[in-house]
Amino acid sequence: MVGSKNRKLTRFFLIAGVLLFFYAPIASLMVFSFNDSRSLTSWAGFSTQWYTALFANREMMSAIYVTLLVALLSTFISTVVGTLTAIGISKSRKIIRELIINVNNFPILNPEIVTAIGLMLLFSSLSIEKGLITMLVAHIIFSTPYVILTVLPKLRGLDPDIAEAAMDLGATPAQALWKVIIPLIMPGVISGALLAFTMSFDDFVISYFVSGNGVKNISILVYTMSKRINPTINALSTILVVIITFVLLIVNLLPFLKKKELRGAE
C-alpha cells in the first residue's frame, strides 16, 4: 500500500513539474503585464498602465493590424488552395500523387531560413518592392503545404465511391464537392486553417526577410524592440494568450455540443 501511495505521489509531482515548466513562464509574463513599474522581475503593485500604453502605441497597433490582416488573408487563401490541391491529389494517379506529396513535404522539412532567403532573393531579383504583399505571398507559400498535409488523411478516409454516389443521384461535380466532399473533410480543413493561422501569426524568420518599407508584424516588432523591452509586450502577449485560450476552448467544446444536439434530435 505504501508503495502505491509513493507511486501516486511521484506521478503527481512529475505532472506538476512538467506543467510548471510549460506554464510558469507564461504565467509570469501575464502577471508582470500588470506591474506598476518597468521591471520584468520585481513586483511593484497592480496597474493597467501597460495596456493603456499598448493601445496608445501606434507602431504596436499597426503591427497587430499587419499580423492579423496577413494571418487572416493567408489562412483563407492557403486553406482554399490547399484543400482543392488535396482533393486533386487524392484523385490523381499514384505516381503523380506520390510526386506531388513529396514536393509538398519539401518546404516543411526545409529549414525556414533557407525558404526565407530564397524568397528574399526571388523578390529582389524580380525587383518586387518588399512590403505587405510580399509578406502575404510568403505566408501563403509556407502555410499551404500544412493545409494539404492535414486535409489529405481526411480524403483518404472517405468512401472511394462517395463522389460518384452524389453524381449518380444527379449532383454536378461542383454540387458533389460542396454538398458531400467538403462537409465530410471539414474537420481536416478546419485544423488545416488553424495550423495555417498560427504558423502565419507567429512567423518571424520568413517575415523578417521578405518584409520592408516599415511593414512589421508583431514578431518583427518585438525583435526590434528587444533591446529596450518593456511590459507593453507582456500586455500584448497576455491578450494573445487569452484569445488563443478562448479559441482552443471553443474548438474543443464544439464536438461535445454537436453530439448533444444530435442526441436531442433522436
Partner: protein, 346 residues
C-alpha cells in the same frame, strides 16, 4: 419487352490490359439481369461504364435508343447501389434518401411524400432522423436502395450489394430485392460472383469471364444447358469430363461409350461433358454404368456429398442415401443427364 440498353462491341483497356474484350449485350425493360462471374472478369467495369463513371475505350452504349457515351452520370436516368453503399455519413436517413430530390429542387411536400413512400417500401419507417453511421449493414443497404429508387430511375444498378451481409440476411434481402423490383417495375442490373444469388433472383443471367460474355440465358438454361466448361464449372458443382462424340446420341469418355440425347456434331468432335452431382445415383455395382470406390462422405444437411473414385477420375455425387466409405458401388445416370458442350476455343 422493349429493348432498353444495348452494349455494342464495348472494349475497355486499363494500362494496356484488356478488361473488356468486345461486349455485346441487350437488356430489356423491366428485366432483372445479373452479370455473373469471378472477380476480375469485368462485370463491375461494365456496370461502371453504364453508370457513366468510366468510359469505354471502344464501342457504343445505347440507352433507350440514344448513344450515351458522352452523357455525364448526373444526366443519366440510372441510379446505383454501391458495393459499400457510399451513404453520406454527415446526413441522417431522411436527408440521404432526399439527396437526389433536393438536387432536383423538388418542393418540400413532394420530397416528404416520396421519401416516406420509399421508407415504407424498404421497411425503415420511423428511422428518418437516425444518423446512417449508427445503422447496421442490412439497414444501410436498405437506405442505399431507397436513396437510389426515390429518383424513379429507369434502371437500377446494383454492385454486389449483399456482399457485406451475413448468410441469413443475404437470403432475406435476395427475396426482398426481387419483390421490390416487381413492385417498382424497372430494370435491375445486378453484379455478383455468387452463382446461387444469380440463380435465385434473375430473369436473365449473363455469365462473364476474362472480359468476355460466356453465356446469356435464363437461370434454368444456364444451369441445365451450360454452353462451355467455364459456365458449367462456375454454376454449381459439376463433374466435367473430356470426351468425343462418337456418333449422334453416342458420346465416349473414360474409354466407354454412353447413350446421350445430343446430335448434330461431326463425328469424333472433341467435347466437354457435364454430369451434375445431383443427377448421379449410387446403385449396386452390377447395375451401375460406372464403377468406383466410395472415398468420402460429407453430411451437408439436405444431402450427402459423396466422392467416388473410378479408375479414371473422382466423381462428386449429391444423394440423400449415405454410402459406406471403402464400399464398391455403381453410378447410374440417364441419357438426358449427360450435357454435351463444345470445347472452349472450338
Amino acid at each position: 419487352m422493349r429493348q432498353l440498353i444495348e452494349f455494342k462491341n464495348v472494349v475497355k483497356e486499363f494500362n494496356g490490359v484488356l478488361v473488356l474484350k468486345g461486349i455485346n449485350l441487350v437488356i430489356h425493360e423491366n428485366e432483372f439481369v445479373t452479370l455473373l462471374g469471378p472477380s476480375g472478369c469485368g462485370k463491375t467495369t461494365l456496370l461502371r461504364i453504364l453508370g457513366g463513371f468510366i468510359s469505354q475505350s471502344e464501342g457504343e452504349v445505347f440507352f433507350d435508343g440514344i448513344e450515351i457515351s458522352n452523357v455525364p452520370p448526373y444526366k443519366r436516368e440510372i441510379n446505383t447501389v454501391f458495393q459499400r453503399y457510399a451513404l453520406f455519413p454527415h446526413m441522417n436517413v431522411y436527408d440521404n434518401i432526399a439527396f437526389g430530390l433536393n438536387i432536383k429542387k423538388q418542393d418540400k411536400n413532394t420530397i416528404k411524400q416520396k421519401v416516406t413512400r420509399m421508407l415504407k417500401l424498404v421497411g425503415l419507417e420511423g428511422y428518418e432522423n437516425r444518423p446512417v453511421t449508427l445503422m447496421s449493414g442490412g439497414q444501410q443497404q436498405r437506405v442505399a436502395i431507397a436513396r437510389a429508387l426515390v429518383n424513379e430511375p429507369m434502371v437500377l444498378l446494383l454492385d454486389e450489394p449483399l456482399g457485406a451481409l451475413d448468410l441469413k440476411l443475404r437470403k432475406e434481402m435476395q427475396h426482398e430485392l426481387k419483390k421490390i423490383q416487381q413492385e417498382v417495375g424497372i430494370t435491375f442490373i445486378y453484379v455478383t460472383h455468387d452463382q446461387e444469388e444469380a440463380l435465385t433472383m434473375s430473369d436473365t443471367i449473363v455469365v462473364m469471364n476474362n472480359g468476355e460474355v460466356q453465356q446469356i440465358g435464363t437461370p434454368t438454361d444456364i444451369y441445365n444447358e451450360p454452353e462451355n466448361r467455364f459456365v458449367a464449372d462456375f454454376i454449381g458443382e459439376s463433374n466435367i469430363m473430356e470426351g468425343v462424340m462418337v456418333d449422334d446420341y453416342r458420346v465416349r469418355f473414360d474409354e466407354t461409350d454412353f447413350e446421350c440425347i445430343d446430335s448434330g456434331y461431326t463425328e469424333m468432335t472433341p467435347v466437354d461433358i457435364v454430369l451434375r452431382p445431383e443427377d448421379i445415383d449410387i446403385v449396386p455395382v452390377e447395375m451401375g454404368k460406372i464403377k468406383g470406390i466410395v472415398q468420402s462422405s460429407l453430411f451437408k444437411g439436405v444431402h450427402f456429398e459423396i466422392v467416388v473414385e473410378s479408375p479414371y477420375r473422382e466423381y462428386i455425387i449429391h444423394t440423400t442415401d449415405n454410402a459406406a466409405i471403402g464400399q464398391e458401388v455403381g453410378l447410374h445416370f440417364f441419357p438426358e443427364d449427360i450435357h454435351i458442350m463444345y470445347k472452349m476455343g472450338y
